[in-house]
Amino acid sequence: MKYLLLICSDEDQVATLNQEDGEAMLAEYGVFAEEMAARGVLAGGERLRPTADATTVKVRSGEVLLSDGPYAETKEQIGGYFLVDCADLDEAIEIAAKIPGARVGSIEVRPIWPM
């Protein structure tokens, strides 16, 4: 089954990381991604720019409406994701728990709806 693992964290906290901690975090993500690729479960994953760079788009009565910022103002925001293809929810949970961001923020595990 495929699952999208959404990495949610407090952006302000991430922004205030000093260079050393930031690099250490990136290195951890590198190790995680390598490990999962070797295991054969990784189907994709990216880091996202912060919500300050987000544009929200909606169409109402045929008109395209834009707003600056994320679709919802919440303390934690999606900062990145991994797409994994694994056996079941237990394996997805196990993988999610290994994402470095799980220790500071949280990971939302969403099964992909097969079409």
Binding site: M1, Y3, A87, D88, L89, I93, V109, P111
Partner: protein
């Protein structure tokens, strides 16, 4: 009146429902189909068995019949190739050995671990366990949890949908997850028991029935996991609690404190069984919170009268339990035991320490315990104030009545 035949069929239902549903879910992968087919099989069984007698292996008969009903239902509904493929996979054959016969995992164990999966909301885990494993109807569960049938039906539908959509595996967890998940299963059973125990009065029979369901599930689990000391510990704990059921409330439905209970009304057979089960658990040499709680319950259950209770031993056990769980509620219980062993002053010191830590602010039993200890120390004004706080926080009407009675005792003008 229940005839012997009806009583036996009811017994078979309790014993076999979970097994039939569990096997059907494994074979069909469809929870609703499994439940509907099991239901149908039981209806057929009542008719057939009334005429022919109950077969030697009623469980096998019911599973085979339910499987046939499921195949029939699928056949009727089969429209595309997918359904027919499902059907082919279900057909009994050499490639689908019956796990009970081949000595592999009991399907009921798969079912209970799936029902109690931590990705499901706690209330959903409880409801699903009662429906699938214990065989309660949706409205019985709704009444037990004081919600409408529609709410409960929705809860069950959503839980089953989450299992199907998110890929919650139908299995006994692998070794590295087993301990943690077993703790989760035990928590669901204990919660179920407590729901019933809190409400165990004559007027609330449906909820009181939850105690029986929880004990039955606990017993089943000890059959399925005979070497897990905490599984045994939980069953012992439930049996000890349950043994006091008849003595807990008086004729008018009021709560009777432990030290005032008529011990001849306690269920001696349940106490003996509990002791045997606890003994088995302790001999496995892996202590845990349920075993410790059962050991505390044993101290109460085996004391000849309230005065003979070994409070020092109980205080020591609560200390152990506190180290395992880090729970302030356990510390409160230890304070009560210390008060009994070393006097109310020693107990009150611990309770006041807890109150100052703020960990149990607004916890009704903290105020009630303070009130009781102050009353025993003769500090009537402070006791009255604590009783008033406890009354504001009281959990149910019976508890409130008990506290009001105590308040009137300490608030009454002192006799000259």
């Amino acid at each position: 009146m229940t005839t012997p035949f009806e009583a036996e069929v009811t017994e078979v239902f309790h014993r076999e429902w979970g097994r039939v549903v569990a096997t059907l879910i494994r074979r069909t992968g469809d929870w609703d189909l499994a439940e509907d087919s099991a239901q149908e099989a039981f209806v057929i069984a009542v008719e057939r068995w009334r005429r022919d007698g109950i077969p030697a292996s009623p469980g096998g008969w019911l599973t085979a019949t339910a499987l046939n009903r499921a195949i029939d239902r699928l056949r009727r509904a089969a429209m595309g190739r997918q359904k027919l493929r499902d059907l082919a996979a279900m057909m009994p054959g050499p490639d689908t050995p019956d796990p009970d016969e081949s000595g592999i995992v009991d399907d009921r164990l798969r079912l209970i671990f799936t029902c109690c999966h931590p990705a499901l909301a706690l209330d959903a885990r409880v409801a699903l366990t009662l429906r699938s494993l214990a065989g309660l109807t949706t409205s019985e569960i709704a009444r037990a949890f004081l919600v409408t049938d529609a709410t409960m039906a929705k809860r069950l539908v959503r839980a089953k949908a989450k299992i199907a959509h998110t890929g919650i595996p139908y299995r006994v967890p692998p070794a590295h997850l087993l301990a943690e998940r077993t703790t989760g299963v035990l928590a669901v059973i204990y919660l179920l028991f407590n729901e019933g125990y809190e409400a165990s009065t004559g007027a609330d029979l449906v909820r009181a029935g939850l105690c029986d369901e929880a004990t039955r599930l606990g017993r089943t689990l000890t059959e399925l996991m005979p070497d897990e000391p905490e599984v045994l510990g939980l069953l012992a704990l439930l049996l000890f609690h349950d043994s006091r059921r008849a003595g807990r409330v008086d004729a008018s439905g009021d709560l009777v404190p432990l030290d005032e209970q008529d011990r001849t009304r306690w269920n001696a057979a349940a106490i003996t069984e509990a002791e045997t089960v606890l003994d088995r658990a302790l001999r496995l040499g892996r202590p845990g919170p349920y075993q410790t709680q059962a050991a505390i319950a044993a101290c109460h259950a085996t004391a000849a009268d309230a005065a003979a209770t070994d409070w020092a031993q109980i205080a020591g056990l609560y200390g152990e339990l506190g180290r395992m769980t880090g729970s302030p509620v356990v510390e409160l219980n230890r304070a009560v035991a210390v008060a009994m062993a070393d006097g109310p002053q020693a107990g009150l010191r611990l309770v006041d320490g807890l109150a100052d830590s703020g960990a149990l602010r607004d916890y009704r039993l903290l105020a009630a315990t303070q009130a009781d200890l102050l009353r025993r120390l003769g500090r009537r004004d402070e006791a009255a104030e604590a009783y008033r706080r406890a009354i504001d926080l009281a959990g149910n009407e019976r508890e409130r009545r008990f506290l009001i009675r105590r308040l009137s005792e300490v608030a009454a003008p002192a006799r000259p």
